[in-house]
Amino acid sequence: MYAESLQLLWPFLVFVLMLLVIGIYCLFATLNLIRALIGVEILIKAVTLLLIVVGYITDHVALTQALVITLIVIEAVVMAVSVGVVLGIHTHKNSLDIRNIRNMKG
């Protein structure tokens, strides 16, 4: 039974990897602060999926669900704070362009 469920791992892992690549690519390519946050969101979605899949495969569903619930709460708080920071930048510059936050260099 273990071996059988282990075979499920690879396809799921591939999709998790695809989501991760989308998120990272978004972080690299975007010129908009909010879209950068959306990229982070997609990364978190990928990890959530991975946790659920691992719980399903190892039959630790209760544990992973508990972890995922905590994770979602934390995600919400982090996003609220980040949005606050982005709004702060917007009040200063009246723009969401990512090139506004390259003042500190060297």
Partner: protein
Amino acid sequence: MFLNIIILVALVLASLWTVMTRSLLRSGIGLALTSVILAIIMFRLASPLAAVFELSVCAGLISVLFVSVISLTQPYSQKEIIERMKLMLVRFRLLPFIILGLGLILLLIKVNFDLILPIPETERNVRNLLWNFRQLDLFGQIIILLAGAFAVVILFKEMRKNVR
């Protein structure tokens, strides 16, 4: 399994659309869509409670947060928008091909994980498990919510003062 794969493909497509769509508003809605599809997968993988949370918090709360922020900020002038459209397309043009290639190649490879899986756990009730074994996490959630409350106080409330 076949159905699972289809839903997963839908998930990836939704997230691609989220990242690549031109309007930020649509991007926020796309995020909600991604969350909903993820919740469906969670239901199918025997994790209903997590799915409910995902639906209510991520698809609900966070999407509302994003959409409201996007509508609060009028990001660009008209000229800027046109200029950025082009830039955006150039920058994201590669992404679908990368994802497609990556997915196809990796799915075709057959990988065997030589793992010894752990023994299934005995406690099956999520609520009992959270309360009995993961009390520290619960407590952590409360603290971080408190921190979030202060963050909102500091970052949002005082901001109003400054703007006026």
